[in-house]
Amino acid sequence: MALLLNAEQRMLQASAREFLAGRSPVAALRALRDRRDTRGYDPQLWQDIAGLGWPAAALPETHGGLGVGFQGLGAVFEQLGRTLAATPLLSTVVLGGGLLTQAGHETQRDLWLPKIASGEALFALALEEAPRHDPAGVTLRAWRDAGHWWLEGDKQFVLDGHVADRLIVVARSSGAAGEEAGLSLFLVDPAAARVQIARTAVVDSRNAAHARFSRVQLGDDALIGAPDAAFAALDVVLDQARACLAAELLGVITEAFERTVAYLKSRVQFGVAIGSFQALQHRVARLHVEIELLRSSVAAALEAADTGQATAQLASLAKARASDLGERALNEAVQMHGGIGVTDELEIGLYLKRARVLQQSFGDGTFHRDRYARLRGF
């Protein structure tokens, strides 16, 4: 394995870049927002993307996957970050497809993975219950009674939850909040009785949903994997998602940074380009340093997602750095653009907003430093 992309992954990266620049520039996100689109993604774009095979990129080759692995998929996420393209790729493929691959029955996989690969079915993960990411903190109850499973409780911040064809719900079937043991996964049709989904408008013009489960009745075929033992698979898939989110953040950050450097070269004040002011030079130089460190960390996290070695540590490393740098680099980008930086007309504000949503998704810097410390034994 290597931190650099192989020829196949590089081709995928180049084609993603070219496709997104033409088909989904930032203007597409703005248009989605301005027409108050409640779906938070463009179905036609998603069909085109499915045609390119991205949803299949990281799936097993036996289920129609491309076999370019997370390093290949991560290269796509970085490009999605560069143009802020709104797609259900993370929810459907990385989370939904990932959990089915890791924990699903043969029949569940055979039914759903091809539909995921082809772009026919959208998935969403119903995990969060508190303001901050806390997978072991789940309290939504699942219990068996009269030959059925039952769910009762609320979920927040379900990314793409209002457009998904299926939800995967993380529920507590035993134990107490904070324990890793006792979690189970359920496949739920959002249209089922006693499931309520409410869209939440998020600052990045994408969407999340609030989901309420009021004694929802499920058959045995709804259970994904063994009861009470979901944490291990969830942990693996969350780390894959974190690596992909870190890659997307890297794209967001890099694009905003390059635009900022270009602006510093072109904007003239006091008779010179403002990029000649040393105080600004040192600030952007420090951002460049952080971006290079982040790029190595993201590459290593994606590689680890493929090899399965040190996955957790590297996912936390990449997601922590990406989250923190996303905060700092975008604040700096806005400040260095001066007055126009705070106008809606400039696209930099859209990058700022997207970076914040990605920061909070599946753990911010504090969460992942805590996790990294635990993994290092302190």
Partner: protein, 390 residues
């Protein structure tokens, strides 16, 4: 009893008798602020009563001479009035940019005719002013402005564009910087003019910020005619008028926290999220509150230095920088402390304060850019206060 003490007693008595109880409560929303001008709007009868009673005494502008509609108070009396209003919690009877910023420079640089024409209606709260300084290509480098004013008979004919005009769409008049001599060195060809926003050729377009609709506008001038008598401080002499005005702006901005703009209870909002966020965030919250505490002590120290006639420059130079960065940092902290709940502009089941956080986080990004960016403030500190070579 000295004269000052008698004045204090009279003032207190008058305020107690005339300031309606509802006008002594803290500001809670934008509607609690009365903005003067031809389109003045009172949201409560008490607002109107308080405004009119203060206006009759000349206390909308207590420091201005009576000849121009002011209260004619000396420095000591002004201070006492301020202290007594603060002690009772009295709200400002109106907010008016012209009074804070244009008034003082008109008093210093204006002709007698200009003072009578402009100060008197301002003192009655009848005119709302906006500021036309910034231009798209002249951000921090204000003096590179290009809006042209060409003499034509008794008028100047103005063509160009201003940006960041606060409440430009609500203002009656604008004070603006225009270029009257394109050949001169850049600071020497600028004039300071007063301009009726109803003049033909003026158009105003609100600017949308990353936080949504804003009070800022772009203002376009298409051959707008302004009488030459509306130039303040002499043709091509506008730069020194503007510099003085910016000193007033800096002073006003640095005491803005006390000015009583509506603010949310950051600590109460933050506390609700601390248990879930953990000890690292508690440490950050403490650091943020301590920053604010140190700043308010510095405001107090600066006032004491002012009273003792000490050299204020080393302290006053930091005020705009610190105040704006702390405000922005406060909302940064809250936005992140709220986690996923800090990511929506219209969350359900939110308190009013929680509801405001995401928008204020975005809005306060402009604080460290507008009115002299943080970078400009640091240049000023390095060069003027510390004496480092330009």
């Amino acid at each position: 009893m000295s004269g000052g003490d008698a004045f204090r007693a009279d003032t207190r008595q008058w305020l107690q008798a005339n300031c309606p109880p509802s006008m002594r409560e803290p500001l809670r929303s934008d509607e609690d602020m009365v903005w003067g001008g031809s389109r003045i709007a009172f949201h409560t009868e008490d607002q109107r009563v308080w405004f009119e009673r203060m206006r009759e005494r000349g206390w909308l502008v207590p420091a201005w001479p009576r000849a121009y509609g002011g209260g004619g108070l000396g420095p000591r009396e002004q201070r006492i009035l301020g202290e007594e209003m603060q002690a009772l919690g009295c709200r400002q009877p109106q907010y008016n940019l012209g009074i804070w910023m244009l008034g003082p420079v008109l008093l210093e640089f204006g002709t007698e005719q200009q003072k009578l024409e402009h100060l008197v209606p301002m003192a009655r709260g009848e005119i709302r002013w906006c500021q036309g300084f910034s231009e798209p290509n002249a951000g921090s480098d204000l003096a590179s402005l290009r809006t042209a004013a060409v003499r034509d008979g008794d008028d100047f004919v103005i063509t160009g564009q201003k940006i960041w005009t606060s409440h430009g769409d609500k203002a009656d008049w604008m004070y603006a910087l225009v270029r009257t001599d394109p050949q001169a060195k850049k600071q020497e060809g600028i004039s300071f003019v007063l301009l009726d926003m109803k003049s033909p050729g003026v158009s105003v377009r609100p600017i949308e910020l990353i936080s949504g609709k804003s009070e800022f506008c772009e203002t376009y001038f298409d051959a707008v005619r302004v009488p030459a008598r509306n130039v303040v401080g002499g043709t091509n002499q506008g730069w020194r008028v503007a510099k003085r005005l910016l000193e007033h702006e800096r002073a006003a901005m640095s005491t803005f926290t006390e000015g009583g703009a509506p603010t949310l209870d950051a600590l109460a909002t933050a506390k609700a999220y601390l248990a879930g966020a953990g000890p690292v965030w508690r440490d950050r919250l403490a650091a943020s509150l301590m920053d604010q505490h140190a700043f308010s002590l510095t405001v107090r120290r600066m006032k004491e230095m002012q009273a003792a006639r000490e050299d204020l420059a080393p302290v006053s130079a930091i005020m705009k920088l610190v105040q704006t960065e702390q405000e922005a940092a406060k909302y940064e902290l809250l936005q992140q402390l709220m986690g996923q709940r800090g990511l929506t502009l219209d969350g359900e089941g939110y308190t009013t304060d929680e509801q405001a956080v995401c928008r204020l986080w975005l809005y306060t990004k402009s604080y460290t850019i507008a009115g002299g960016s943080s970078e400009i403030q640091l240049n000023i500190i390095a060069r003027r206060v510390l004496g480092l070579p330009g």
